[in-house]
């Protein structure tokens, strides 16, 4: 099962907007092609005594789908996002407080989980929460011809043999979280990780550019 390395792997166009809501402490919307997600962060705020942890902040992630009530699929994606955020936030600076991250799906056209991760990172940066590294999400799909497609659309996801989402950190481009469905070989997995690491460089550069643009005004 050899994977032919395509040299024209592409990411769809992306865009983001920060501080678009007035109530949350930090908010951001992230758009990848037609998939768009809105994220909001509240924290560090008061925490219920039943949920407080004596030496760290309690991070809660809520994913709201567009239609209907949250189901098991949302819960498992919440778990993935929460683990990634806990690894990159400095939670010990705010013990006995709560951080709440709410993600609202606006439109789903594939690469849902990576869009959630990207929006989460931008919202956490906007809220000014201390982080020790940035993270981004990249989705890879392996289609029936054993080609790797990054940032697949919903149609491409349906036809794929395997679908993988990786959360990559900004300091050493290592994998923080991976979520895979479908069958693939070890070789293909390593190829996809290598492709995701390369793609994450574009995304981190985008983060930097948007933050630079945000602070470009002399106040």
């Amino acid at each position: 099962m050899e994977v032919c390395a395509r040299t024209n792997v592409t990411l769809r166009e992306f865009g983001c907007e920060q501080t678009l809501l007035s109530r949350p402490d930090g908010s951001a919307s992230f758009v990848q092609g037609d998939t768009s997600v809105m994220a909001a962060v509240y924290g560090p705020a008061e925490v219920k005594v039943s949920k407080e942890i004596y030496d760290r902040a309690t991070l809660e992630v809520l994913i709201q789908p567009k239609v209907g009530l949250p189901s098991v699929r949302e819960r498992s994606q919440e778990q993935c996002v929460r683990e990634t955020c806990e690894a990159s936030l400095l939670l010990t600076l705010h013990p006995r407080s709560s951080l709440t991250l709410i993600l609202q799906l606006i439109h789903d056209d594939g690469s849902r989980l990576s869009c959630f991760l990207n929006a989460a990172c931008m919202a956490l940066m906007d809220a000014g929460l201390p982080m020790n590294c940035l993270f981004c999400g990249v989705t890879c799909a392996i289609n029936a011809d054993s080609e790797i497609i990054t940032d697949p659309t919903a149609a491409q996801e349906k036809e794929s043999r395997a679908l993988m989402t990786f959360a990559i950190d900004s300091k050493e481009q290592r994998v923080m979280m991976s979520y895979t469905t479908g069958s693939f070989s070890v070789h293909e997995l390593q190829q996809c990780i290598a492709v995701s690491q390369k793609a994450s460089e574009n995304i981190f550069q985008f983060y930097r550019d948007s933050v630079r643009r945000r602070y470009s005004k002399n106040l």
Partner: protein, 423 residues
């Protein structure tokens, strides 16, 4: 999370300002905040911005069996979600009073007013009808959620197009949007709710209260009306006593406001229809404001892949050889399948391994003689635990080795305890 409490000085100042007919943001008493309506990528998705209050509505449809007492009518389902994003006081999952109140008002405004022709949603009478579901999500709470929700819901219903269905005898075919154009819903009229907040026991009233004004108000009057000046629902909450003239005045103001809002909605729908016909992409992505410094967009980028495949190959070659696994279920006998291999039991409690065990043990004892004495007492104590009560797996050898079993299990206890201590 709790919301920040309202201080006495804020309350006093707001009431004093209202008595002087001044509002916090400089509006007049009957002015609405700036309203903006945008649409999403697919049909039925609508965003409404009322000042800083932001609301999203999504309409979706599916085929279900109809209700028994109404076999000819489609089903409408409304759901307002107070997302925790909108305010720190909203909690996920908890049905708060406000959520129940808003849901009930939206249902009365849209369902009981019969604004949608539910009979046209029937496909096969008594068997299949369309269920139209409207989900309204609150994104930011800066007051007057009810009006924003009702505008978003009715606009989304006007924007929505359901798939076309073909009926041939008993068969029902649902055509996808590519095969046949989807059909809009048939809407008789557009009920829109207008909220009035009352202060000082009904003396002063304000239209479209913002969040702080809502906190100091005495009561709220909500009138749902359409542009033909028909009242669809009236609700008064807060226990204030209103005079007949006040209610009549409010309904006159409401009719003026509703006609303005209806015009705005029609204009927005027109613009969207034109944009879609022109073939351009429309949706949330396109409606992102580009000139703001808090927003940024890039085009489709390609990823540099030159050395990625080499690093991947390196990693795979340097990695260890994976364990050999049995590829598919093995059938040792007809009717019996085995997946995976049974591995040797390494617990050291089976009789046939006694010999090896004791040899090993003796070697270990030779090496660690001096420790043995100090641990003798410990070993006895530890072997008081479950180790002794473990079932011996081969009953035929039990009589022969029963004594041996007792002593060997003692020693086994010692061995496992040594292993534990080593770990």
């Amino acid at each position: 999370m709790k919301d920040t409490p309202l201080s006495n000085c804020e309350r006093d100042f707001l009431l004093k300002a209202i008595e002087e007919k001044k509002r916090l943001d400089g509006r007049q008493t009957y002015d609405y905040r700036k309203m903006k309506i945008t649409f999403g990528t697919d049909y039925g998705c609508c965003f409404v911005d009322l000042g800083r209050t932001r609301v999203m509505a999504q309409v979706s449809g599916e085929l279900v069996a109809p209700k028994e007492n109404r076999p000819n009518e489609g089903i409408m389902f409304f759901n307002i979600e107070l997302s925790p994003m909108a305010s720190p006081a909203f909690e996920q999952g908890r049905q708060s009073e406000l959520s129940v109140k808003l849901n009930r008002q939206l249902e009365r405004c849209l369902r009981n007013s019969k604004c949608i022709d539910t009979e046209s949603l029937c496909v096969v009478s008594g068997v299949k009808v369309w269920q139209i579901r409207v989900d309204v999500h609150m994104l930011n709470h800066d007051g007057n959620l009810m009006d924003a929700a009702s505008i978003a819901a009715i606009t989304a219903l006007c924007h929505f197009k359901r798939p076309d269905v073909g009926i041939q005898g008993d068969e029902v075919t649902v055509y996808s949007p590519e095969e046949r154009d989807p059909i809009p819903l048939s809407i008789y009229h557009m009920p829109i709710s207008v909220s009035f907040s009352f202060f000082q026991q009904g003396t002063y009233l304000l239209v479209d209260p913002c969040e702080r004004e809502e906190r100091v108000m005495d009561g709220l009057l909500m009138i749902a009306m359409n542009k033909h000046r028909e009242i669809c629902s009236i609700q008064s909450s807060g226990g204030i006593m209103l005079l007949k003239e006040q209610v009549m005045r409010c309904s006159k103001i409401a009719s003026v406001k509703v006609s303005e809002i209806t015009e705005l909605i029609s204009k927005a729908l027109e613009n969207d229809k034109r944009a879609r016909k022109a073939g351009g992409r429309c949706g949330f992505a396109e409606s992102m404001p580009q000139e703001r410094i808090t927003a940024l967009k890039t085009d489709e980028t390609s990823v540099e892949m030159t050395d990625a495949s080499e690093t991947a190959n390196d990693i795979v070659q340097k990695a260890e050889v994976p364990l050999q696994t049995v590829p598919s279920p093995v059938v040792p006998a007809p009717g019996v399948g085995q997946v995976g291999e049974g591995l040797q039991n390494t617990w050291g409690l089976e009789e046939e391994e006694d010999g090896d065990e004791e040899e090993e043990e003796q070697q270990m004892e030779e090496e660690q003689d001096e420790k043995e004495d100090s641990r003798e007492g410990d070993v006895v104590e530890i072997s008081d635990s479950e180790e002794e009560e473990v079932v011996i797996l081969h009953p035929e050898t039990q009589d022969k080795t029963s004594k041996k079993a007792a002593s060997s299990s003692n020693q086994k206890g010692a061995e496992t305890s040594k292993q534990r201590k080593k770990n």
